[in-house]
Amino acid sequence: MVGLFRLLGACLLLSPALVNAQINMPRGVTPVSQDIYGLHMYVIWIVVGIMAVVYGVIIFSLIRHRKSKGAVAATFSKNNLLELMWTIVPLIIITAIAIPSIRVLIEMDDYDAADLTVKITGHQWKWQYEYLDQGVGFFSTLSTPIEEVIGVEEKNEFYLLEVDEPLVLPTDRKVRFVVTSNDVIHSWWVPELGIKRDAVPGYVYEAWARIQEPGIYRGQCAELCGVNHGFMPIVVKAVPPAEYDKWIAERASAAKTAQGSRSDLTLPEAMKRGAALYDQHCGACHKYDGSGMPPTFPSLRDSSITTGSDINRHIDVVMNGVPNTAMQAFAPQLDDEELAAIITYERNAWEHDTGDLVQPSQIQARRQ
């Protein structure tokens, strides 16, 4: 038994050496996150003090007042003054905690005079960002390949904390976030910004940040939102204001020109793009081999929609979704070419081999 204790003790002592992980809350890079950190440390020291007193008295009694040492029990069982004391002292302690907390709470609640507003919408399982004043918007999806998740490939440094397109924000400007959801409740959490806001369907919830240092800040969805809750990270890229202005101007003009250009796809082209897009947008529910998770998430293999002759039915389901189910409308999320590629892929993958090739123009035609 003693040997076992030694072993466990050794493990515990060694563990900090083995561990190069962070053990405390990050200080963060915004006024709010730093104030939260300050509050956190302040309360930690208070509770450490409480624990020192409480544990001190217990350990003292356990050593000094044990029967094997011949201790004889006293008989007292009440003491008005003492009992009054430990009603009053905790009251004083909680007052000491409450006052600075109230101050930070007020600060967090100050949403006025923002320089720009970003709307954040939670979707099963990706984030949508819209720069409301510039008309720029995009989706941000996990970019870690499935091979790393299932262990076929080596995991990279930012495993599960990387996205295809990060949220770009300027430093030193006051950014206002409005957070909502398209389906279930999610929660947008970036520890270094000190922001966690539940994205609740039907509600808009505000937050603000003034980022002090350029850098990349990573976070994750914090509220259970279904199967891939663990796979919808957040990446914020904070850049100096000038760089941000340049970036947003480019995005705004790119968004305008993209609408015109459209070329026809060939079948191999469409299959290649479709496969990648399918894995990214559909694989979570319908599985990468199309088998789904019936009955909630239907299999697309040999379904009448994906193999039937009425292609428009297939296109409509993907574009408009199915109300009141997890099948969302993809028309607002993907462009014509992407939709065409995905649908072509579904109609030819998994030995469907219908030979159908859907063109962006067909999608365009059904957009109205």
């Binding site: 038994m1 493990c11 515990l12 992980a21 962070q22 809350m25 990050p26 709010v32 104030d35 939260i36 509050l39 956190h40 624990m51 544990y55 009694s61 007042h65 029967k67 094997s68 201790a71 004889v72 029990a73 007292f76 069982s77 009440k78 009992e83 009603t87 905790p90 909680i94 905690i97 409450a98 907390s101 109230i102 709470l105 007020i106 998740v149 299932i150 995991k155 440094e157 495993y159 599960l160 904390l161 279930v184 409740i185 520890p191 966690k196 539940d198 609740v200 039907g202 509600y203 976070g219 914090a222 259970l224 939102c225 279904g226 199967v227 663990g230 998770m293 019936p294 909630t296 997890a326």
Partner: protein, 529 residues
């Protein structure tokens, strides 16, 4: 168990013995039989829930997906939470109540024995229904034990309706059990057993029973609204239909927070019995103990939205719930101080129940401190829904309450069965459990602070080390509990016969009865002075 079984039982044929065994237990109305049934069911569920927890920890041993799919992972956390709360920790408390309350107040039995039988048998029916969802098409509930809408309504698997029915049955069972306990305490006390002479365990259960009657109908209401949203086209919680997803959270936590104290108060009661015995000194501050119990009961109704700081409450509501939550730390603190002062200048010995109780005081104090941290609303924006919360509530539920119930099991075992448990095995169980449970849950505080969300099947590489340590602790802790079961089973036959008083410092009516106590605890009311 021999009570009431005819002497001729040994000569019956096997099928008859089986039938008489079944009828004996299904028709049992004796408070000790029901108590035993509750305790055995709870123990069984502890192992079911524990197995699920070990599956979770196995998946989280290393990053990447190894054993379970993300959807099944969500099922595991949900079922683990539901089974542990409704199948283990609530029944274990009711089991002790059934065994002890009549003996402690000098009554022959509970006031309503047949109701008692019914409230027990609803429990296994409900748990079986709950567990059966694991084998249904589309899988078991996968939205967490908090069942937040709309994930549980619009997006829930078909088996959710079975879960709702199980929750209804569990609620009914709790309400009937509570009515029974309240009636017993009000009407069956021995002459001279005045309110201020009631053992603290009885007091805590009295308040708990009132809490249960207050909250179980609220939970039933919440799940009924879920049922309607799912099947009958209402939109209580569906924003698209004019409903409100946050309404669900308010209703749920109006049940959920008092529920925490439903679990905690009986455990406080047990600790308040064990510590004086092994300190050989009367409980310090009996009056403040009773006052704190009642105060906790009242305050627990008005702090629920501290679980919802990040869901978008107005500033004023956040302020109010922050302050109210901090206030509830005061009566809880009073209890801890009273236990410590009871030990102070006592004559302490370290039998297994005392060891578990001391560990309880240590680790529950720790959990209380992280609780105060969580109450600080601005900081909760970082803690909420992270592993910090998982660590906090496991320090409450496992290192705290489960340890208290284990202390109670060792403490009254000789009284219940007339034989001592094996002290050596008890100490092994204690040390293995205490060390491993801290290895299991302590590192999770760091994980949460560093940013790991709860309820995720896979994690980023900065969380690798602590998850590994935590999983190691989990397996040692899980398997250590087998020592406990082995000890409880073998000591029934092999243990040394126990005296009536059992412990040198034991005080209270239950210790004046024989060990094991007679079938009808007090045929004639004892004299209390």
């Amino acid at each position: 168990m021999a009570n009431g079984v005819p002497a001729a039982a040994g000569q019956q044929s096997v099928p008859r013995r089986v039938i008489s065994f079944i009828t004996r237990w299904t028709t049992a109305t004796n408070h000790k039989d029901i108590g035993t049934l509750y305790l055995c069911t709870a123990l069984l569920n502890l192992f079911v829930g524990g197995t699920l927890a070990l599956c979770i920890r196995a998946e989280l041993f290393v990053p990447g997906l190894q054993f379970v799919e993300p959807n099944f992972f969500n099922t595991l956390t949900t079922m683990h939470g539901l089974i542990m709360l409704f199948g283990f920790i609530m029944p274990v408390a009711v089991g002790f109540a059934n065994w002890l309350i009549p003996m402690m107040i000098g009554a022959p039995d509970m006031a309503l024995p047949r109701l008692n039988n019914m409230s027990f048998w609803l429990l296994p029916s409900a748990t079986i229904m709950l567990i059966s969802t694991l084998f249904m098409d589309g899988g078991a509930p996968n939205f967490g034990w908090t069942m937040y809408a709309p994930l549980s309504t619009t997006y829930g698997p078909p088996s959710t309706d079975y879960m709702i029915f199980a929750v209804h049955m569990l609620g009914l069972s709790s309400i009937m059990g509570s009515i029974n306990i309240i009636t017993t305490i009000f009407t069956m006390r021995a002459p001279g057993m005045t309110w201020m002479k009631l053992p603290v365990f009885v007091w805590t259960w009295l308040v708990t029973a009132f809490l249960l009657i207050g909250i179980m109908p609220v939970l039933a209401g919440a799940v009924t609204m879920m049922l309607f949203d799912r099947n009958f086209g209402t939109s209580f919680f569906d924003a698209a239909g004019g409903g409100d997803p946050l309404l669900f959270q308010h209703i749920f936590w109006f049940f959920g927070h008092p529920e925490v104290y439903v679990l905690a108060l009986p455990a406080f009661g047990i600790i308040s019995q064990v510590i004086p015995t092994f300190s050989r000194k009367p409980l310090f501050g009996y009056r403040t103990m009773v006052a704190a119990t009642i105060l906790i009961g009242i305050l627990s109704y008005i702090v629920w939205a501290h679980h919802m700081f990040t869901s978008g409450m107005p500033y004023g509501a956040q302020l109010y719930f922050m302050l109210a939550t901090m206030l509830i730390a005061v009566p809880t603190g009073m209890k801890v101080f009273n236990w410590i002062t009871t030990m102070f200048r006592g004559s302490i010995s370290f039998e297994t129940p005392m060891l578990f109780s001391i560990a309880f005081v240590f680790m529950f104090t720790f959990a209380g401190c992280t609780g105060v941290m969580l109450a600080v609303a601005p900081a909760d924006f970082q803690y909420h829904d992270s592993y910090f919360v998982v660590a906090h509530f496991h320090y409450v539920l496992v290192n705290g309450l489960t340890f208290a119930f284990i202390a109670g099991a060792y403490y009254w075992y000789p009284k219940f069965w007339g034989r001592m448990y094996n002290e050596r095995l008890g100490k092994w169980h204690f040390w293995l459990s205490t060390i491993s449970v801290n290895v299991l849950f302590f590192p999770q505080h760091f994980l949460g602070l560093a940013g790991m969300p709860r309820r995720i099947p896979d994690y980023a590489l900065q969380f690798v080390d602590f998850n590994f340590i935590s999983s190691c602790g989990a397996f040692v802790f899980g398997f250590s509990q087998l020592i406990f079961v082995y000890n409880m089973i073998t000591s029934r036959r092999r243990g040394e016969p126990a005296s009536d008083r059992v412990w040198e410092g034991a005080e209270g009516l239950e210790w004046t009865l024989s060990s094991p106590p007679p079938h009808h605890s007090f045929q004639t009311p004892p004299k209390v002075d």
